[in-house]
């Protein structure tokens, strides 16, 4: 099963923690907000992705399981 990352933009306060933990996948926009690709997280990064989601201070980073966006 593939996992995708999604940001709740209302909760996200641009801490940037997620991009620090997962620079291979998450980049920051000019205002410090994460740009998360819509594609599934590559297998070798899933562990880190879950860690990044857990580390987000506002719980704005979500791991979606399954096929849907």
């Amino acid at each position: 099963m593939s996992e995708r990352l999604r940001v709740n933009p209302i909760k996200c306060t641009a801490h940037g923690m997620c991009a620090e933990l997962l620079p291979e996948f998450i980049t920051l926009d000019p205002w410090g907000y994460p740009i998360v690709p819509g594609e599934p997280v590559p297998d070798d990064l899933i562990g880190l992705a879950r860690k990044a989601a857990a580390a987000c201070p506002t719980l704005a980073l979500l791991v979606d399981k399954g096929r849907r966006r």
Binding site: N8, P9, W31
Partner: protein
């Protein structure tokens, strides 16, 4: 053909023979149509007898039949996104427990007048639609949401609801609710949050409104025009509905035409009519046209000669990268500057954001700045690239689709006015920027 038997066996007026007008057939003599007037135009509310019989199983079967008819009619939402209404009703009806129906009459688009026209002139058609939708999905609560600053409209609707209460027409009481006029307050999750006692601002999905909306119940939010069509379909059937329009875009729709046009205003058209034909019906251009804004402030600029041939329907507009939106057409004359118009509107949209999401809070003002630079200052050769670079940083990154509407407008301006954009960027502003603004933005003087 009546689809469902009625409780009060009043004869229905013969189904309208002409394909047009349908919704607007009820407009008589410049005044709001009262209940009697409404019933003599369209007949009584076609709630199936089973709705009142107390026989739950029969009621559910009749409700399913009504949803079937709506689904077969091919009716799609008239609030902007064009989602199939039957499918929405079916998924809300399938949700757990009693549902809620919300009629969205808050018409936040400054260039749209159609919902206000329906609500002020033929309110009972909309109220019939609310009642029928409530029956279809098994709702126990029904709300009609409008802007609270329009006191006359609110009072008129409350009086119409009252008249129906006295006559014992609706099964589910309809509550008229005023919300603030901010653009994003009309978005469905914002309405739901307001009805739940919170601020009228969009929320992040999930939960989705049709699964958990008002009071955590499955909630159907429908545009008021959509509901008016539903009230017609319940009376005359899906085959009748499909007699107008095209197979892939059946029925009629309301459009609001403004800008450089001889007779601005709201009219009813068959879906799929070429935009040129719609504009000629409104008396034709008042000046040499340069472009047409289709769909509203989340819409698309099309060069006039291209727009003329495009068919006014979701599939027709999608084929040229546009969208129907709420059926808005604004004619831009040669003498106006499309870039300056776009810059003003994107500034307005940036100011109207809910201030919740970073890409909307920072991205939209940056986009508005870049557009204003291009339109009014220009001459440095970097504005077009800045705009093109900002668009992907904003698109799809808000909790609601507000920022996407603004980027769609900006991107279509760069495409439709590509020649002007290059000129502005290198040489500076054109003469058109000095012309009085065309697109209405609240706060400016009303232009019509």
């Amino acid at each position: 053909m009546t689809v469902v038997a009625t409780t009060r066996r009043q004869a229905y007026p013969a189904r309208p023979a002409a394909r047009l007008p349908r919704l607007l057939a009820g407009l008589v003599g410049g005044r709001p149509a009262g209940l009697n007037q409404h019933e003599s135009s369209f007949g009584p509310l076609p709630l199936p007898e089973a709705a009142w019989s107390g026989n739950e199983a029969a009621g559910r079967r009749a409700a399913t039949r009504l949803i079937d008819v709506v689904e077969r009619s091919g009716l799609t939402g008239r609030g902007g996104a064009g989602f199939p209404t039957g499918r929405k009703l079916r998924s809300v009806a399938a949700g757990p427990g009693p549902a809620v129906v919300v009629a969205n009459g808050s018409e936040g688009e400054p260039a749209s007048r159609k919902d206000r026209l329906l609500l002020s002139r033929t309110p009972h058609l909309v109220l019939d639609g609310i009642s029928l939708a409530a029956f279809a999905i098994g709702a126990t609560e029904a709300y009609l949401v409008v802007h609270d600053d329009d006191a006359r409209l609110v009072a008129g609707l409350e009086a119409a609801v009252q008249a129906r209460e006295v006559a014992g027409i609706d099964q589910v009481p309809i509550q008229v609710v005023g919300i603030e006029g901010r653009y994003v307050a009309s978005e469905q999750t914002a309405i739901v949050q307001h009805l739940n006692g919170g601020p009228g601002l969009p929320t992040f999905a999930p939960p989705r409104t049709h699964e958990r909306g008002v009071a955590g119940r499955p909630t159907a939010v429908n545009n008021v025009e959509t509901l008016a069509h539903l009230a017609m379909i319940a009376r005359y059937g899906h085959t009748w509905f499909r007699e107008a329009g095209t197979p892939s875009a059946p029925g009629t729709t309301l459009v609001t035409v403004s800008g450089a046009i001889a007779r601005p205003g709201v009219s009813e058209i068959e879906l799929g009519a070429p935009i040129g034909e719609v504009l000629m019906q409104a008396g034709g251009p008042a000046e040499r046209p340069q472009a047409v804004l289709v769909g509203g402030y989340f819409g698309t600029w099309l060069p006039a000669e291209e727009a003329w041939r495009v068919s006014m329907s979701h599939p027709g507009l999608r084929s040229v990268g546009g969208a129907m939106g709420a059926g808005i057409l604004v004619v831009l004359p040669e003498s106006s500057c499309g870039l300056a118009e776009t810059a003003r509107v994107v500034r307005y949209l940036a100011d109207e954001g809910a201030g919740q999401c970073g890409p909307c809070i920072f991205g939209l003002p940056a986009l508005a700045d870049a557009l204003a630079d291009l339109a009014y200052h220009g001459g440095r050769g970097d504005a077009v690239d800045r705009i093109a670079g900002l668009i992907p940083l904003i698109e799809g990154r808000g909790a609601c689709r507000h920022p996407d509407g603004a980027t769609q407008l900006a991107a279509s301006a760069l495409a439709a006015f590509s020649h002007d954009a290059r000129w502005h960027d290198v040489e500076g502003p054109c003469y058109g920027v000095r012309r009085a603004p065309l697109l209405p933005v609240p706060g400016d003087l009303e232009s019509w």
